[in-house]
Amino acid sequence: MNLLYKSYYFASYQCDHSRSFYIDFGHKQVKLSFCQLLAIRQKVQAIDLSSHFDKDLNYSGIEILSLCNREHLFVFDTLQVIDLKQLLKATFGVLELNSLVAH
């Protein structure tokens, strides 16, 4: 497996053999198709970070995300959400760079 990006809490990988991706969430590793990776990216991008700093909008300061058609359920705190946003942004950046190099 090729490491794509490692953030503080998480890491992303590409597996050439299975033509899939992996995200290591620390306590568990999740295998993802490209479509599922896109879905996570969309969900994480849609998280409004500013609401984490407003008690009326997000009192507990957590995000609950269901991934891969509700196969996995995650609870993230604010720092983890920031880290996850960074991970996905950087992962897609590396994948784009790889496309440029490959072609």
């Binding site: 090729n2 590409q14 050439d16 033509r19 899939s20 991706f21 490209f34 479509c35 896109l38 879905a39 969309q42 897609f92 994948l95 784009e96 790889n98 496309s99 490959a102 072609h103």
Partner: protein, 170 residues
């Protein structure tokens, strides 16, 4: 390392994001035209109402065209949420001005995506969007022609009724 992303998706991921935003905009336009049709219906402007029902259906068709394009090319299209639809207008002229402004915003948005396509060399998406570029020119011109009727005929009484009947032919 294999380029799995390119194997899975035929369009640029950033372009896909912009196309998904465009889906939301087209859906919003469809809903706005529906609200305009309702206003016209309630104010006895039956041909204008019919015109906006048709416009609403066209915007939905545009939305679906983009939606299917994303999915057919390996991306993921997201069904949009539509909110903040205004139902209150002062006149038919205001409605058509608002509609023209909305079309201008859509044109700008399409042009912005075409610019991005060129930047990232996504020529497939650019080619797909050329249909929208042409369509937007036609849409804008249609609303301009209708607004010219208000300039020529005025906005009161019989003039309004005559304009409504002329809109039938647009």
């Amino acid at each position: 390392m294999k380029d799995i992303v390119r194997q899975k998706i035929g369009i640029n991921v950033d372009v896909m994001d912009l196309l998904n935003e465009q889906i939301s905009k087209e859906a919003h336009s469809a809903a706005v035209y529906l609200a305009m049709a309702s206003w016209c219906d309630h104010n006895g402007l039956v041909y204008s109402a019919e015109f906006f029902y048709k416009q609403s259906a066209e915007e939905r068709e545009h939305m679906l065209k983009i939606f299917k394009f994303i999915n057919e090319n390996g991306g993921t299209a997201y069904s949009p949420e539509v909110s903040n639809i205004n139902h209150e207008y002062n006149s038919l002229q205001e409605i058509f001005e608002t509609a023209l402004d909305q079309e201008i915003q859509i044109t700008k948005s399409i042009n912005n995506i075409v610019t991005k396509c060129r930047k990232v060399q996504d020529y497939g998406s650019e080619n797909f969007l050329q249909w929208f570029v042409k369509e937007q020119m036609e849409e804008e011109n249609q609303f301009r022609r209708i607004l010219e009727m208000f300039d020529l005929m005025g906005t009161d009484g019989i003039a309004l009724k005559l304009i409504d009947e002329r809109i039938k032919h647009e």
